[in-house]
Symmetry: C2
Subunit: 287 residues, 2 copies
């Protein structure tokens, strides 16, 4: 069995071919320019293989409603070349293969759920905290989508009493993404997160905001595990701070697993999205 | 077909017998005292009928994990007589009937989803805003439960710049429930909500907090409809305020249905929980 996977990001696309055991046979990375250019390179890459199915995790927002006329499209993205682009339609036409289609975070979450640090659980919340903040939730094997896919990085949080930063979200100013994304950290402190690794107050404040959001997600979704990925979560010292804040703020209101188990970094590192796409492709063949 | 329903609340239990068309044949209301007393009166009421199935929506927290040793129990409630009480076990022993078991808000949400103001949708978030704040989410016919059931009234929110009220949640002080529940309104203003009906600033502030939470729920769950019940939502003037705040704060970040359609009061009034229990009982016979 040969499976394809695309991790479609705002700056680059990664594509891979693998087998049903998740052995990766070939990969390519292509810059995100215009659909004509980027997608042609991707489809040329895949056309050398006879794929059985393809899984795509894309930047968004995207249309995931199978009953919609625009299912498989990227919709209202600020990247104008990609607005209202029929992503799945192009792939089906070029490659004539079943395509599983979801968001980048859902695909990465699916990878972590089945083969990463949420392996063995029944439900997993995956979050990426980097250029943006986004998340996906998988429960009993199903990715949560209802009216559309989640955009959970923009939840509201309470301000830390010592923090006067106004927030950078162009929509909500001081929502979670506006206060705690990579660009928010850089704007607040004047340096990138990676350059602030030894500044404990930076990570304490970051943990204060992330823990609040994790509590909201916990109370709404009740995941069995939370996996945190993305650039800022490479600062591994933050995990202890997040768990401590989470414990203090939740104040034992609901039962959660032991926090060392409950809140974990990614297990598949930068491969979560690509592996998730392969797993979604494999799953597509089942049903 | 004869179906039973129990709405098990912290101050009273309501039980009803109905048919598969949701015609209610008989009801009883019993004060919530001790399990021995309350449950005996409930089971005596039902024992006059030959029920095919029974649906229960209970105050919580409860154990909804069918694989758990304590499935069907009320668990860590502050009501000490009811702590670790085997609710479903008692009913099965007394009445020998299949029992569907969920939280009070999940049952009411299920009623609204199938026969109330979310009828015809694929996904519905139901919230009660009264003595406490709680919610349930139904998507494609399934009630969302993962590690356990949601407790979504305690999400964090940002403080209104003019509000100095410290909040009354014993766990989190200024979470949504601590700032916007019925007792929070009464503590902040010195009067019950119903006595403040003509004070527009009361409802503007209430809408400011509720709209934030509705945005968080929207971004995480992406429901097709939101139904708001509970005592405070009998102040119908608040719906317009909530929709206005929601529109302003979401700032068109994601697509949602027209807000008149999206955010609605209950359609089944005080019957949502009982009807939901009957529907859950009926559903139990299918699967």
């Amino acid at each position: 069995m040969l499976l394809g996977s695309i991790e479609a990001g705002g700056t680059k696309f990664i594509a891979a071919v693998g087998d049903e055991h998740m052995n990766i046979i070939d990969t390519v990375t292509v810059p995100t320019t215009k659909p004509d250019e980027t997608m042609e390179q991707i489809s040329n890459f895949f056309s050398r293989y006879h794929l059985d199915a393809l899984g795509v995790g894309s930047f968004g927002p995207i249309d995931v409603d199978e009953k919609s006329q625009t299912f498989g499209y990227i919709t209202s993205t600020p990247k104008s070349f990609w607005r209202d682009y029929n992503f799945v339609g192009y792939l089906k036409q070029k490659l004539n293969v079943p395509v599983a289609w979801t968001t980048d975070v859902n695909a990465a979450g699916y990878g972590e759920y089945l083969l990463g640090n949420a392996n063995g659980t029944e439900s997993c919340l995956y979050l990426t905290i980097g250029t943006g903040i986004g998340g996906g939730f998988i429960n009993k094997g199903q990715i949560l989508n209802a009216f559309s896919h989640p955009e959970m990085g923009h939840v509201f949080i309470k301000r830390h009493p010592d923090d006067t930063f106004e927030g950078i979200c162009p929509f909500h100013k001081n929502c979670l993404e506006g206060m705690a994304s990579g660009p928010a950290v850089e704007k607040r402190w004047g340096k990138k997160g990676v350059e602030l690794a030894d500044q404990s107050f930076v990570w304490e404040l970051e943990a204060y905001y992330l823990a609040q959001a994790l509590i909201s997600y916990t109370l709404i979704l009740r995941p069995e595990r939370i996996i945190l990925g993305g650039g800022l979560m490479k600062q591994k010292q933050i995990f202890k701070l997040i768990r401590n804040e989470f414990h203090a703020m939740l104040n034992d209101y609901v039962e959660v697993p032991d926090l060392e188990t409950y809140i974990q970094p990614v297990g598949l590192n930068d491969q979560a999205g690509i592996i998730g796409g392969l797993l979604l492709a494999k799953n597509k063949l089942k049903g």
